[in-house]
């Protein structure tokens, strides 16, 4: 029996550079496949996701982009009978190594879901949930983290007067930004966003997109989206997936203006999908 690998980060926030211009690889998939039972939802994907950049994943419904995203913090474990082959390397470890401590992994890879999924608790308790899990008990410290996270998620001004109100009373867009604040409060290095604006109106969507623009300096963001304009607007890199296969992955500008692959071109020009 090998020893359990904890993914606990050594250093915290300070680790993030301020210039945001590194070209380091943060996450690397090597021939990574993910199966639901016999169905191969992600097929031998290999890609290097750079640090502190926004990477968008696009593709038609069912192409495996969400599955790939959820593989990065092993959220697919919730679904029975999933299995993975190949490697997903983060911080020098294959996170699908069975000795990996998933809980510490998820504390470093935050996630924002398609539908705002705030807890039926107060706004404060929602944001403080993660820090409390990590053992922060000091009230003062907690409030600081909560305030900072809410500020980072650009929602502080809207909620500062009603932190004790139930989060379910907020609008959908506010809830989604609260979810982002909640994810930021655990000080992750990577932020996974699974179609974060698909349940929101255009105005709320614009706010979230602005937010992504601000967060890109401190976090590695991977966003799955159905909206190609959104991918073009917010991302540095774009990956196009089709039927589980990574068809093309490159700089967003290039992928949208001059794609290498005819399939990509067909998709972004709206000929299918």
């Amino acid at each position: 029996m090998t020893e359990e690998i904890t993914m606990k980060k050594i250093d915290t926030f300070a680790e993030h550079g301020d210039d945001g211009a590194t070209n380091e690889t943060h996450i690397e998939a090597k021939d990574f496949s993910l199966f639901y039972g016999d169905f191969e939802a992600v097929r031998k994907v290999s890609m290097e996701i750079p640090k502190q950049k926004v990477t968008a994943m696009i593709g038609p419904s069912g192409c495996g982009k969400s599955t790939l995203l959820r593989s990065i913090n092993r959220m697919n474990d919730l679904i029975p009978s999933t299995s993975a082959t190949g490697e997903m390397i983060f911080d020098g470890h294959n996170i699908y190594n069975k000795n990996i401590d998933v809980v510490t992994l998820r504390a470093r890879v935050g996630m924002v879901f398609q539908k705002p999924n705030v807890f039926p608790k107060s706004i404060f308790d929602n944001v403080a949930y993660g820090p409390r899990l990590q053992g922060t008990k000091n009230k003062q410290e907690l409030s600081e983290i909560v305030e900072q996270s809410l500020r980072n998620a650009a929602i502080w001004d809207e909620v500062k007067d009603r932190l004790t109100a139930n989060a379910l009373g907020m609008s959908g867009g506010q809830q989604q930004r609260l979810c982002i604040a909640r994810a930021l409060a655990i000080k992750p290095e990577i932020l996974l966003m699974d179609e974060p604006t698909s349940a929101l109106d255009p105005k709320a969507t614009a706010k979230i997109e602005d937010l992504i623009g601000e967060l890109r300096n401190n976090y590695t963001i991977i966003i799955v989206t159905h909206n190609m304009q959104q991918a073009a607007r917010v991302s540095d890199l774009t990956a196009f997936m089709y039927e589980g296969v990574l068809v093309e992955f490159g700089k967003t500008k290039q992928l949208f203006t001059n794609p290498d692959n005819p399939q990509t071109e067909n998709y972004i020009t709206g000929r299918f999908g």
């Binding site: 809980v103 999924n117 807890f119 039926p120 899990l133 139930n166 379910l168 994810a183 655990i186």
Partner: protein, 448 residues
Amino acid sequence: MRLETRKLLDKAFSGLGIIAIGVMAMALLLILTPIVVRGSKAFVFKGTIEFRRMMLEQFDRGDPDKFNQEAASTAAARAPVYLMMEEFEAEMKAMKSSERREYKAAFKEVEKSIETLLGPIPGERKPVLLRQQYGQTRWERTLVKLHEALYSEEWDYSNADAMGLLVEKPRVEQFIGTKLEPMFPYLEEHISDMMLPKTTFYWRFITDKSKDSHIFGGIWPEVLGTLYLTLGAMIFAIPMGVIAAIYLCEYAKEGRVVSFLRICISTLAGVPSIVFGLFGLAFFLNTIHVSNSKSVLAGSLTLSLLILPTIIRSSEEAILAVPRAYKEAALGLGAGRWHTVMSVILPASLPGILTGIVISMGRAAGETAPIIFTAAVSVGAPLKIWETLSQPTPALPWNIYNLCTEHEAVDEIRHVQYGMVFTLVAIVLLLNLFAILMRARISKKLRG
């Protein structure tokens, strides 16, 4: 389908729905009304001077001065009755023995019915049984006993082809021409002076011990026993049930074993309660000896087994109804399974779990069969909390059955029977109400 047809179908269906609900409401009304009306008579009734005498002597309650006044006035009203009886006895003594024999048996009956009605005849030895030391304590029973004192029941067998016919004959006819003759009309006329009926509010019916096996007093030992048994069952069943449900929903791998377990739980829910009772006797008392005799502990354990399936199933439903998004959110923030359950899933499923608990609490409070062999006795003192580990207890459901079927004076204590039913229903309703309020509060908090 044409628009009219659809409309007609919709109307027909909503009509059926209203009828169904109406029938249900009627049934509920039909069941509850007599329970409430008759049950409340255990608490509010016309009490006689005998009731006040009993309360003063047995429970040390009431104003002695006022009672003495009343007692004096009733004694004055009763004096002619006793006097006439005495005179008649003297008259009898003077009779020839053949004549005397004719009256003797009839007079004995009169004497007895007067004692039942008014209590022991002054100057005679105090009877041993408590119930014989007092006359009728309740006005409605007084009237029944008065009737028995005034009329004798005889069987008329004159028609040989038919069954015997019960006929009532005025007793006065047996004593025409004697000194006892005027006593009967006097009794009928002055009964209310002799008994002084007064509307009595006896709320302590719930908190009083019973005297002379429920002839007098209240039902506190039964109420307490029911509370002990219900709470005891909850103490065992809630943690076991909720933990089992969490395990089945969150930890166990779906598969044959879990399906089989689920079938077992459903089957357990369908086992007749008497089987649980016998199992409790065989296992808790005879095999593992949780106590030397029947006890509240053994009864609680048996009841907890009975309600366990309900709690598990309803908790499971509640846990499965928690949006997956909550679970994903918690796990996504780095919460472990245990933490996810405790901080997100349990709070969100609490209203549903509480519903199951409420339903099973009502069931545990009202079950009779499981406690017959494991916990219940027909007469007993209220238990101290530590005595529940070793002592049996009276309990409402069992004592209702017992008082209605096996009591030696079933007819005399109808008010106690109905009072117990009323109290049991009230306890269950109150428990439910409490839980419903709690649930509403929690849901409101969850909804924001």
